[in-house]
Assembly symmetry: C2
Homo-oligomer: 312 residues x 2
């Protein structure tokens, strides 16, 4: 049976990416700017304009969006990327505008669903996925179901404490995973090391985790040390996740995951060294597979499953 296509949308702070998804295939893509600084109405118009070219072929719309989402009601309670969005009934608004049923979920939950069904998590029923980017997000599949929690925001890995009285995170609290693994903290760590040691990175005006990752691959010692440090902190967080969720696969998503073994090796070594009951577990720590498409795939899947009445 050929599946009817679903429209999957990934709404970020800068871009809206939409795609017509049929099973594991993307049939068509559209894109629009979010224009978040021009206000809520404008951003919603932009979403509608991204949907329009796909609308006639789509059976339903799934939307992944950063923040606290009430997926049962299709309401965006709060989004860090979209100023002024508070308790926005996005599903209702878009349904009225586009005439299709609309399902909304957290963007990292969408990525997790996508990787579960079509990517690195295939065949696993206990998954923890986290994203490393500007922030550090997370999502869990527990025994074959996406974990929402009581208020729809389970899985917030980035803001778990691994070092009491550690340095201050952007959220105001101390020693969070994000405080070590968020992009700007990785960059700051590199700058501090460059000030003291010789490095090819010293020639840059601006650093990004991607530039540091490239330098690590090319053999730069400072760049490797940066990921070594970051990996050790993240590894402690992952060991906590394993103790609490007991997953069989941990998936790391986001641009920085592309640093490859320079990030994964210190994470894996730290987990191996510190996780509880290692001899009784089988787990793997792997990079995500779907790249930027995970979010649209996952959003489409959420719409497909929810509209069919399945538990997600």
């Amino acid at each position: 049976m050929k599946k009817e296509p679903i429209i999957g949308i990934d709404i970020g702070g800068t871009n809206i990416k939409a795609a017509l998804v049929a099973g594991r295939k993307i049939e068509k893509r559209t894109r629009a700017l979010t224009l978040a600084n021009l206000g809520r109405e404008k951003s919603i118009d932009q979403i509608i304009s991204a949907i329009e070219p796909l609308r006639k072929k789509g059976k339903a719309i799934g939307i992944g969006i950063a923040g606290i989402i009430d997926s049962k009601k299709g309401v965006v309670k709060y989004s860090p990327n979209l100023k002024g969005w508070k308790n926005v009934p996005l599903a209702r608004i878009l349904r009225a505008a586009c005439g299709l049923p609309v399902y909304v979920l957290n963007d990292v939950n969408a990525i997790c669903l996508g990787e579960w069904k079509h990517g690195a998590g295939q065949g696993h029923d206990n998954i923890f996925l986290f994203t490393i980017g500007t922030g550090v997000g997370g999502a869990a599949i527990c025994e074959g179901r996406l974990l929402f929690g009581a208020h729809g925001f389970a899985g917030e890995f980035g803001h778990t404490t691994i070092k009491l009285d550690g340095p201050k995170c952007i959220c105001g609290h101390r020693g969070h995973v994000e405080r070590y693994a968020g992009a700007k903290y990785i960059v700051a760590r590199a700058w501090r090391k460059i000030a003291r040691h010789k490095s090819s990175l010293a020639s840059y005006d601006i650093l990004t985790p991607e530039i540091i990752a490239r330098a690590a691959k090319e053999g730069d010692k400072v760049a490797r040390e940066v990921f070594d440090d970051v990996g050790k902190y993240v590894g402690i967080g992952v060991a906590n996740i394993i103790a609490l969720f007991d997953p069989d696969i941990i998936i790391i998503s986001g641009g920085i995951a592309r640093a490859g073994r320079f990030l994964f090796e210190p994470i894996r070594n730290t987990v191996r060294r510190t996780v509880l009951g290692r001899e009784h577990r089988r787990y793997r720590i792997v990079p995500a597979k779907l790249g930027d498409d995970a979010g649209t795939f996952g959003a489409a899947l959420f719409a497909e499953l929810t509209s069919a009445g399945s538990e997600v």
Copy 2:
């Protein structure tokens, strides 16, 4: 419809407690010594002797036991309290001896089930329960289902790191919740303070968390400081749990939970101060209600639900 009674059993390192459970009522209790030091065969004989007076009235047997349990197969993979128990097919052994179907689960999972259905967790679908005693254990109900995880030991709160490079836990790793909240660490904290400050506790030869809790209630400043410190550490761990599981109720079980507000206030204050997205959540942190009966209730419930083919 009157429910047929189920035999619920709680196997500890010292005692085996069994009860004939009918719904919310305990009809009869038996008890035996575990005699763990006399070997596995002896302990199994002791379990059978505890079951015998209840056997004829019971429809099934549920067993809660510390350690790593494969509940699907009814196998005790490892138990810290029972030396020499490794991959013991307890369900099969007891079924052969008693002629009733037998279901085995982790003891903290049993306590969590008990508190969920008959105690502090009634009416909630997203629960995290942890026990504070010699060790610190944990269990989660996620969206109405007990979380087992991929290998049957999700919820291990005690061995999550809250302070990287902190003091060494009994497991060999550093800065775990148990390193601050386990009974002997609470006692050691009290002794260290007594050496420096005046306290009614100085007159004791031996201290226990219960004695320290009583002194706190009677106004002893050192005893209050001990729970203040412990509560702050536990609070950081609870804030992590809330970020990851997003429960609407957190239940604290075990003798030390009876320290009451001297323990709960610093926990609640720390969580309030540090938890992510507090304005978007409703959660409560409460003591368990069923005391020592939670484990037998929960084990019986597990047998009842599993034998009826329900998902737990």
